[in-house]
Amino acid sequence: MPTDSGVVNLPLSAQLIHLAAAVLLLLSFAMLSQRRLLSLVNLFAGQGAALVGSTVVVAYSTGQHHLYYSAALTLVLKMLVLPYVLHRLIRRLNLQSDTETLVNIPTTMLIGLVVVIFAFGLAQPLSELSSTVTRSTLGIAIAVVMLSFLMMITRHKAISQVIGFLAMENGLFFAATSATYGMPMVVELGIALDVLVGVFIFGIFFFHIRDQFESLDLHLMESLKEE
Amino acid sequence: MSLTGILTQLLGVAVAVVLAPLFLGWVNQCRAWLSNRSAPPLTQPYRLIRKLLHKDAVIADSASPLFRVVPYILFGAMVTAAAIIPSLGTNLPFAVAADAIALVGLFATARVFISLAAMDIGTAFGSMGARREMMVGFLAEPALLMVVFTASLICGSTALPTIADTLAGRSLAIYPSLAFAGVAFLMVLLAENARIPIDNPSTHLELTMIHEAMVLEYSARHLALIEWTSALKLFNYVCIGFALFLPWGLARGEENPLALLWALPLLVLKLLLAGAGLALIETVSAKLRIFRAPEFLAMAFMLAVLGLLVRLLLGS
């Protein structure tokens, strides 16, 4: 992490935020390597928790009140609703594990590592500019976004792709809070709404796809192509 | 245009029309002698024409009006050609109307019409003859044009009388380009007038003939005109040769009519020599297969172009 040098003389809040950030990164790595769908969902919920934590800390330490709302929003949406929905879906569609990843796990890990380094390098100049206590976590936010991107690329099952997508949203949200003390409320609401609707549409989709393809395996969805 | 001019003009045409069959007869006589045959009388062509004129014309059922018009057109074309060519004198008022290129065009017209007439009946031989005639034509015509060009480059004019006039005026000089052109012209002459080695004027062996195949269906006065025309054509060609290569002795410019009296015997002399030479060539050479003909003519064409190039390179 870019700010190891000054860890000692950082205020508690900042340390907490760093902690949350580290947890977030750790969780996304875990998701990258996780095969079982249910635990994937749990990890996602964990991400949500970390997110809420960091947001609250930021809100408290900076007195940005609207952040409390967004924290609440996150709590409801990402810790409760979405995991619940996903659990329901997985049960209803009785999906077990995402059998095979396209690239085997260790390789994915290595690539993930490279991606993280790249993200940090990318964030370096930006966090120099940031005035927030949380600036140094911007790199982590980017890393999370890219890791979930990687996860979407490597997964077979529709549902794990969706989870990757949501994880990406988490990364973005984290970036929003860390780089700037959160986006304006309207925007936040809009984003939240979109995510919610999106997930429901995903849900609808799973059933249609299941009806049509008898499975959520994306292998079956490669008929439209140029060859 | 002066009185002398008109006189030269009319005399030239008259001489051509009258002497042409005689010249043909002379050539045939020479050929007979050279091949140890007893020669037909000199006036044989006239007799033939006269006989044909008295006959009753028989025409195929499938003949169209075109078929009947063509002989007159041919005759007209050849006579007009004779009016352009300086056979006796270079002071030809009519020659203003058409230069050497037009002359070549005139020959082409004649060829096209006779070929059309040949196709008109719709017999196998007719169309075959037309095809071969046109084949010979499209190789011989450009060669002739090139020959004329060589001369006109030397003289800076395409009007035959002017060319002849200029050439005759010069002191005797060697023109290598003209030498090339001369050979080419000779070959064209043989080909165009259905002589050996391209065609045999006296053959009726169907598969070898060209000119005869085209006129198979003609009879009586039509045939007479055609025979006359071909005699006239030969005469014209020979006169072109004279005008280009040995123009001496022509009545030049605005000279007095007496010069014509001097020019006429000279012309006859040239004709005698030319006829003999022609007969000699025909006797010593054998007829080519029809598809050797293109090579022969292509050679002529090449020679003519070479003449032109030489003219440009050496300026002589």
Binding site: F165, M168, A175, A179, M183, P184, I191, F205, L224 | -
Partner: protein
């Protein structure tokens, strides 16, 4: 006021349709709503012509020359599309491809889509812009998968995932933008996301942040524009959705996405004072043109064919915007207009054609001219227009673009021309046998509605020969704005 109506109507329409969308008279209502929207759009346009650009509702919404003509265009095409879909959907229903419930879904989503388009165009807030784009994706996803066939589901899924991911990048870009802006404008309240404010202070924005954020925005919205190599969702979605949807996707969505990209480009270019964003756009544009032009040769499905042609034309427009300068921007805007009109017209014709022949496979569609002269001529003329044949307007814009390219980037001209030639061969060699030759197909239960087709083509023809002064004036102003 017009603005409120303009935005309110489609929203209301969506709600209404959600309730009564399956009724017999629903299509007519749909048409009426669109008509009203169009009228409101015209009123707004007139207002803007009268008294210039405007900012309303504490600057949350604004209208300037750049978006006003896009608004008018959007409203117009939504009107014609609703007219077209009226008969088209009836026939689909008659063929038993759609149930009542689906029709309801279709109608309400259609109106919702229109709302999101207009919102995206009119909002002054980059955040709202993002929200609207995302909403547009969501509403169209359901439209694409309307038939619930395997192919349509697959297409919708790819569309959803790819555009979702893309749009996420765009969000990140927006965040970075905000991050840079709040230093200058202060984080409190909205102002740091308002385009007008950003534009005012773009000179002071942080360069490194903006360049990075532009990359994210470009990749994000570029995915929706369908720039190669981010285009892969586009042909599938166009080919598998119902034809009216393909028409609005090609005719509107791509434009609006490009509009978003250009808005960002204006800010970024103003800030980092280098040609880099322009060059990125040009690179994307050229790649798209070339890739699409060659892929056209592999198409067997007619709607897919024209989807690729959309990619090609978006590439041309992007390239033109990338070059920048008054002429190129003018040409790009003109090309946006004529492309939307022509392409939607083509999709209308294609829709009826494939209904008549009962297939979208090119080699099975034959002899339209005999089958139904209007459809045949519509398709033929539309194809020729989109191929840049004078006297249609597409040629006018391509002429300007090419000549500008010759001046500013001579190296690019041969590439463009080659691609245009290849595309011509590809499309025309497929359209001609469809239109000409021996017919194959059956009569339709409802007579096709081709008024929209010829209305569009007439407009395009007019733009090729004469551009109304006020329109030219807009284009000029907008071009100046884009810089």
């Amino acid at each position: 006021m017009e603005l409120l109506i303009l935005l309110g109507l489609p929203l209301f329409g969506a709600a209404l349709m959600a309730l009564v969308g399956e009724r017999r008279w629903a299509p007519e209502v749909n048409v009426l709503v669109s008509l009203a929207t169009f009228v409101a759009g015209c009123a707004l346009t007139a207002r803007v012509i009268a008294d210039g650009p405007m900012l309303v509702w504490n600057e949350q919404f604004f209208v300037d020359p750049f978006n006003v003509f896009l608004v008018a265009l959007t409203a117009f095409i939504s009107l014609t599309t609703s007219l077209f879909s009226r008969t088209y959907m009836r026939i689909e229903e008659h063929h038993g491809k759609l149930s009542q419930r689906r029709l309801r879904l279709y109608h309400s989503m259609f109106q919702l889509f229109m709302f999101t388009m207009l919102l995206a165009l009119l909002t002054n807030n980059m955040g709202i812009l993002w929200v609207a784009m995302e909403a547009a994706t969501l509403s169209t996803v359901l439209l694409v998968s309307l038939y619930r066939t395997k192919a349509s589901l697959e297409a919708a899924w790819k569309y959803f995932i790819l555009c979702g991911v893309g749009i996420a990048q765009a969000l990140f870009g927006t965040i970075l933008l905000y991050f840079a802006a709040e230093k200058v404008l202060g984080g409190d309240g909205m102002s740091a996301l308002l385009w007008t404010h950003l534009n005012a202070v773009k000179g002071q924005l942080e360069v490194s942040v903006l360049s990075i954020s532009f990359v994210f925005l470009l990749v994000g919205y570029g995915t929706k524009v369908g720039l190669a190599p981010l285009h892969n969702w586009l042909p599938d979605a166009h080919a598998e959705g119902p034809t009216p949807v393909s028409a609005v996707l090609s005719g509107l969505l791509l434009n609006v996405a490009l509009y978003a990209v250009i808005r960002c480009k204006i800010l970024v270019e103003g800030s980092i004072r280098s040609k880099l964003p322009g060059h990125m756009l040009m690179a994307f544009g050229l790649t798209s043109v070339v890739v699409a032009a060659f892929l056209l040769w592999r198409q067997k499905d007619v709607k897919r064919l024209f989807a690729y042609s959309s990619i090609e034309h978006m590439g041309i427009i992007t390239f033109a915007f990338g070059m920048g300068g008054p002429v190129a921007n003018f040409a790009a805007l003109l090309h946006m207009t004529v492309h939307s009109l022509t392409k939607s017209a083509i999709f209308f014709a294609v829709g009826h054609a494939s209904q008549k022949t009962g297939t979208q496979l090119i080699e099975r569609i034959r002899g339209l001219l005999v089958l139904s002269p209007t459809v045949g001529w519509g398709l033929m003329l539309g194809a020729l227009a989109i191929l840049g044949m004078p006297p249609f307007g597409v040629f006018a814009s391509e002429f300007l673009i090419l000549t500008t390219a010759m001046r500013d980037h001579p190296w690019a001209t041969p590439v463009l021309l080659l691609a245009l030639g290849v595309a011509f061969g590809a499309i025309f060699s497929r359209v001609q046998p469809m239109v000409f030759g021996e017919p194959s197909g059956q009569p339709l239960p409802h007579s096709p509605s081709l008024v929209p087709v010829f209305a569009h083509l007439a407009l395009v023809l007019m733009l090729g020969l004469w551009i109304p002064p006020f329109l030219a004036q807009w284009y000029r102003l907008a071009a100046a704005l884009i810089g």
